[in-house]
Structure formats: structure tokens, C-alpha cells
């Protein structure tokens, strides 16, 4: 069973058209991975779909890095009983 971190990287790679191996734990979505504003919206949507959760758009779009996304998503999953 892949970890939350692995799943976050897989989804990120798919949306941003990258190789998951090139995504580090601390990679910044915009600075390091080149996410544009519309791709950020797609990332939020894709994480919601992947994890079966609903995230607050404002809060989700404040998350800047892979590791922070992992902890944010884990927190939302726990709160929504999806952990």
C-alpha cells in the first residue's frame, strides 16, 4: 500500500507531467516543480479525488511544498475519517 507521500508525489507527477522520481519531499510546487496557477487548482482537485476528501480551497492553495501537502492532506483525512 503506497504511503500518503508516495500518492501525493504520483498525483503531482501526473498533473505537472513530471517523473515521480524527480520530486523531492521538500519540493516547492511553484519554484521547483513549475506549477502555474491553474495547475495548482488541478492539483487540489486531483488530491481530493485521490484521497476522497474535501479541502478548503483557500487553505489548500496556501500549501507550498510536497511535505506540507502530505501533512495537510493527512490532517484532512483524519478529520474526515478517511485515514
Amino acid at each position: 500500500m503506497p504511503t500518503v507521500s508516495e500518492r501525493v508525489k504520483t498525483v503531482t507527477a501526473k498533473i505537472l507531467k513530471l517523473d515521480p522520481k524527480d520530486i523531492s519531499d521538500t519540493a516547492d510546487f511553484v519554484r521547483d516543480l513549475g506549477a502555474e496557477s491553474l495547475q495548482s487548482i488541478e492539483l487540489v482537485a486531483a488530491f481530493e479525488e485521490e484521497f476522497g476528501i474535501e479541502m478548503n480551497e483557500d487553505e489548500a492553495l496556501q500549501v507550498k511544498t510536497i511535505d506540507k501537502a502530505v501533512s495537510f492532506i493527512s490532517k484532512v483525512m483524519a478529520a474526515q475519517g478517511k485515514a
Binding site: 498525483v11 488541478e42 480551497e57
Partner: protein, 422 residues
């Protein structure tokens, strides 16, 4: 005697145009359906009956009573259907008690004070039902607006009727000596403070042209009557073709044909808009274009209440809800319905024929975008630029519409998300 204008229960056939306003506030011609009723029965103080959700915002806009049932029974009353496109009628305010019907639909109820007092005045629908059971019925000829394309189809004749009712002709504003009227000069009215700049042609060979107060028509504009340019509207060059009503406070360029732009909306750049109705606070990006005719000349289907419906018409454009924005190069198919507060980004192809309220559409997928709060922030910014603001009542109504449209929006967003990870 009072004039009571009521909204019947078919308001949702006119979505997305009626999410934020009653049916009789929709424009057909230079004025709204309600304004036409009020001028047809002059001297009668109006009162209005609308659905509960829009009553607070509408009450703020009108100085007249709204949903006050005492208006039904305290005096003699002429109760008029707000969908009635009244461009001249034999119906008089004074006359015998009766219910006027057209194909089974109530056009008006005329009741003396005594008769009105005997009707159930607990709400307008009860009042109509008791009036129907007590009063003689008379079949009358009338036009009732049923669907959005009806407003567009009657727009030309409505502009002509508005021009006649206005009773004004000639140039009260500025008309450049290098501008021209092609056709009857008596079919032009340029109001006080309006400005027709050089190299503008007003073509009245097929109908009148109204240019209302404070409107400015920039050079290289051709306006073909019947056409009405509303107060403080700026036309930035291009072809304003017959049966078009724009304004107030719009900025429009490019090519517009047989369309209604409700007010406070912009289509600043080139691009074609035909047989369309555009709500308030809409911004159409450069080269936004709608089709209004299918390549095989067959009748256009329109998304009404969750289903595609045959308009029985071959010329049907798009119906765009309030506060919606489109990107550069957005292409709408014939009969497209776009909800309120959408953010639409064209990606080269023709877009879906239905875009639910508050949705974003980009990369050929639906999304919540930055969410409801961000859409409200954008609306506040756009309105602030015209010195207007969202009131607490407006906000409550938008929240309500966001709630009632949630299921249809989420269904499409979910479909898009599945495609995203496929």
C-alpha cells in the same frame, strides 16, 4: 386601483437569467417586461410579488411594496403576469371583474375593491385561484415569455414599441457632422448628454435607433435599427446589428446581432455575439464568440432544468448568467447556457452547452477554481469599479443560489476529476 405584477412559478425556465432577479426585470427591448407593464397602465401605483429568495434584493432595488399581500385586497386591483410582454394591448385598467387568459395561462386579473376583498389574499397564488373560481374568464391575445430565447426573438419589436412609447425624436445630445443617419432621420433619438462621434453610421432603414443619456458611440461603429444603446454605455466601434439592446453602463465592441446585454457588462473587444442574452457584471474576453446557427440549419437544443430542450428555433445564441467572465478566445456553441459567476477559459474548442453556476472551466474540465469566496471577491472588485457594492441581501441570495446549484455543479466537477487522474 393598484397594479400588482406577479412572478409565476415558471421562473426556473428562465434560468440562469432569473437566479438573481424576477422575470419582469428581464429586458426585452430598451426596457424590462415590468417597465412595459407599468407604462401600459399609467397612474396605477405598482406592487410586486416575487419568489421568497429574491424578495430582499429586489425590495432594495424598488421603492414599491414587495410581497405585501395587503396590496391584493385593500383596493381594486389589476394583477398582471410578469412574463407578459406588453407591447400594446386592448386590456384596460378599468373594466369588469374578469380573469384574462391566453392558452390557459393567466395574463391578468381585474377585480374591484369589493371582489378583491372576497378573494383569498393570503398570497398571490391563492388570490389568483379564488379569482379564477369566482370571476368570468376572457380569452385574450398576449405574448408570455416562457424561455430565454423568447426575449431575444421579440427584442426587435420591443425596441420599436419602446421607441414609440418614448415619444422622443431627434438629437438632444452631440452628433458629429461627420456621423451619418442612413434612412429616416425621424427614427433616431440621441438623448441629452449622449455623444455620437465621427464616422458613425446609424442605419434606420429597418427600424429606429435609441441612444440613451450619457452613451458614447466611438468612431467606426455601425448601428442598425431597431437598436437601443442604454444610458452611459460606451460602444467602441464595430457592428451593432439589428434587434440589439445594450445597457445601461456597458462597454461593447465587435459584432453584436439580435442580442440583449442586460447592464454593467463588458464585451470590449472583437468577437461575435448573436441571439444571446448576457446578464449583469459579465465580462467577455477578447474574441469571445458564440454560434447562433448550426451548420445543418436544424433547430437548436437548449439546456433547461437539467435537460436539453428543443427551442423550435434555428437561431439561438448563448444565455450567460450574471458575474460570469470568459477568457480570450472563448467559443460558445449555439444554445449554450452559462450559469452565474462562472469563470470560463476557452481552450480552442467549442465548450460544453451547459456550464453550471459558480463553476470554472479550463483545460476542458470543470473545477471549483479558487472557490466561492474568491468569486465573491472578484464580484466585489468588478462592482467597485462602477461604484456599486454587494449588499448583505445580494450576498445571501448568492449563497442561496450556490446551495441550490451545488448538485449539478458537483456532478460535472466529479466527472472532470475522474478524467484528471485517468
Amino acid at each position: 386601483m393598484r397594479l400588482c405584477i406577479f412572478e409565476d412559478d415558471t421562473f426556473d425556465n428562465l434560468y440562469p437569467l432569473t437566479y438573481l432577479r424576477p422575470m419582469f426585470e428581464l429586458k426585452c427591448g430598451h426596457t424590462s417586461l415590468g417597465q412595459k407593464l407599468v407604462r401600459t397602465f399609467p397612474g396605477l401605483p405598482p406592487a410586486y410579488f416575487v419568489r421568497k429568495s429574491i424578495a430582499p434584493t429586489f425590495a432594495k432595488r424598488t421603492g414599491s411594496p414587495v410581497n405585501d399581500s395587503s396590496m391584493l385586497t385593500g383596493d381594486s386591483v389589476l394583477l398582471a403576469n410578469g412574463r407578459w410582454l406588453c407591447l400594446g394591448t386592448d386590456v384596460k385598467a378599468e373594466g369588469p371583474d374578469e380573469v384574462g387568459l391566453c392558452n390557459g395561462e393567466v395574463i391578468y386579473v381585474r377585480a374591484s375593491r369589493q371582489t378583491a376583498a372576497q378573494c383569498d389574499g393570503s398570497n398571490v397564488f391563492q388570490f389568483i385561484e379564488t379569482a379564477k373560481s369566482k370571476l368570468p374568464k376572457k380569452e385574450v391575445k398576449a405574448t408570455l415569455i416562457g424561455y430565454p430565447w423568447h426575449l431575444v426573438n421579440h427584442n426587435g419589436e420591443a425596441i420599436e414599441a419602446d421607441f414609440k412609447a418614448l415619444g422622443k425624436r431627434g438629437i438632444e445630445g452631440t452628433f458629429s457632422q461627420h456621423a451619418a443617419v442612413w434612412g429616416d432621420e425621424g427614427s433616431v433619438y440621441v438623448a441629452k448628454g449622449a455623444e455620437v462621434q465621427p464616422f458613425v453610421c446609424l442605419d434606420t432603414t429597418h427600424g429606429p435607433v435609441i441612444i440613451d443619456e450619457g452613451a458614447k458611440i466611438n468612431p467606426h461603429t455601425r448601428i442598425e435599427g431597431p437598436c437601443a444603446i442604454g444610458k452611459d454605455t460606451l460602444i467602441l466601434g464595430g457592428k451593432m446589428r439589428a434587434e440589439t439592446a445594450i445597457g445601461p453602463v456597458c462597454r461593447v465592441g465587435g459584432e453584436v446581432e439580435a442580442s440583449i446585454i442586460h447592464g454593467y457588462s463588458n464585451k470590449y473587444h472583437d468577437g461575435f455575439l448573436g441571439h444571446a442574452y448576457v446578464g449583469e457584471w459579465v465580462n467577455l474576453g477578447a474574441l469571445t464568440t458564440n454560434s447562433d446557427l448550426k451548420n445543418d440549419y436544424t433547430q437548436v437544443q437548449v439546456h433547461i432544468k437539467g435537460k436539453l430542450m428543443d427551442s423550435h428555433d434555428t437561431k439561438v445564441g448563448s444565455f450567460i448568467g450574471d458575474h460570469t467572465k470568459t477568457s480570450i478566445g472563448t467559443y460558445f456553441n449555439s444554445g449554450t447556457v452559462v450559469g452565474i459567476m462562472c469563470n470560463v477559459m476557452g481552450s480552442g474548442g467549442v465548450l460544453p452547452k451547459f456550464l453550471p453556476c459558480f463553476s470554472w472551466f479550463f483545460n476542458n474540465r470543470f473545477s471549483r477554481g479558487y472557490g466561492f469566496k474568491a468569486l465573491l471577491d472578484t464580484a466585489r472588485t468588478a462592482m467597485g469599479r462602477r461604484k456599486k457594492a454587494l449588499s448583505p441581501e445580494d450576498l445571501a441570495l448568492l449563497e442561496y443560489v450556490h446551495h441550490i446549484t451545488r448538485d449539478e455543479r458537483e456532478e460535472l466537477i466529479k466527472k472532470s476529476r475522474r478524467e484528471l487522474l485517468r
